[in-house]
């Protein structure tokens, strides 16, 4: 069984400093991610302003039901993630383990649904660069819309996959006893990342799925 106490790294004076450093590191990283996705959001906003009609049409092509289910799915995974952190902070290693596994599985469910969506768009010939055709008078704008859709949700899916990997590793380490009530910083840090990925999704859902005046 690996002992949590040996986790203090060379460069730190005490565990509190290590915790604070890890937390600040993750929040700073999240700030960079805001700017990273932000560039795409701004570009999307500019084109939405120019091609409102075409973008609304693009929104109407979205699978609102699947998207909404996926949003609920991600919120659920955030709940299980928070509950996992809660569990380990009061020393419940087994409960934390199962909640982490559940979080990862729910994340995989999201990816499966997303994959289904992508397939439906492909069948509809709405994948720019690979197979796109549209008979709409706003075809160019619809294509731009779909570029942003695939770029933003694709980047989001990549970030989510990394999160699922991290959560799985955490689950494994919880199972072998690496974390306890005193030391569970990696769980908290990955939790922050996981919630952040959901924050991104919240905005993606709003800008892609909801407009359209069905």
């Amino acid at each position: 069984m690996a002992s949590p106490a040996r986790a203090l790294r060379e460069q730190f004076r005490d565990p509190q400093q290590q915790r604070d450093t890890a937390t600040m590191g993750m929040f700073t990283f999240m700030a960079t991610e805001v700017m990273f996705f932000g560039g795409l959001f701004v570009a999307f906003a500019v084109y939405r302003m120019y091609y409102t009609a075409g973008f609304m049409e693009g929104s109407r092509e979205m699978e609102l039901l699947i998207g909404s289910i996926n949003t609920a799915v991600l919120f659920t995974s955030c709940l299980t993630m928070s509950l996992a952190i809660h569990a380990i902070s009061i020393g419940k290693q087994a409960r934390c383990y199962w909640l982490l596994i559940l979080t990862a599985v729910i994340g995989l469910l999201f990816l499966a649904l997303k994959f289904l969506e992508y397939f439906l768009h492909y069948a509809d010939h709405k994948v720019p660069g690979i197979w796109f055709d549209s008979s709409s008078p706003h075809a160019h704008a619809v294509q731009l819309f779909f570029f942003f859709y695939f770029a933003l949700t694709g980047l989001h899916a990549i970030h989510l996959s990394i999160g699922i990997g991290l959560v799985t590793v955490l689950a494994f380490r919880t199972a072998i006893g690496r974390f306890n009530a005193e030391y569970h910083t990696p769980v908290a840090i990955v939790g922050l990342y996981w919630h952040f990925v959901d924050i991104i999704w919240t905005f993606l859902y709003v800008i892609f799925y909801l407009p359209g005046f069905r």
Binding site: M24, T28, G38, S82, H86, T202, V206, L210, P211, F213
Partner: protein, 99 residues
């Protein structure tokens, strides 16, 4: 880390709030209110993000420097948006081509 300042019950309540907000958002999407639609949708999105940040991430419990980091991220995104749109919105205000 901190002791669990947020109980399981509070987490579940936050989760329910997130789902309810989502359903409201979907409902409003079926109404045709013009530009207000996007505005309300974004506001509800921001409310959901606030719940995520303050309850599920317990961000309010963090030190001041973390609040500054979060604020800086939002502020810098707004700088990017504002100054870029400052160009796009003010184009063609003059009767001179290309200005």
């Amino acid at each position: 880390m901190k002791e669990p300042d947020i109980s399981i019950k509070q987490y579940v309540l936050a989760y329910v709030a997130l789902l309810v907000l989502m359903l409201i958002n979907v409902g409003i999407a079926f109404m045709n209110l013009g530009w207000v639609n996007m505005f309300i949708a974004l506001v509800i999105g921001v409310m959901q993000v606030a719940i995520l940040v303050f309850v599920l991430m317990q961000a309010y419990l963090e030190k001041t420097v973390i609040h500054i980091v979060m604020g800086a991220a939002v502020l810098w995104f707004l700088i990017l948006v504002t100054l870029t749109f400052a160009d796009y919105i003010t184009r063609n205000w003059l009767p001179i081509a290309g200005k």
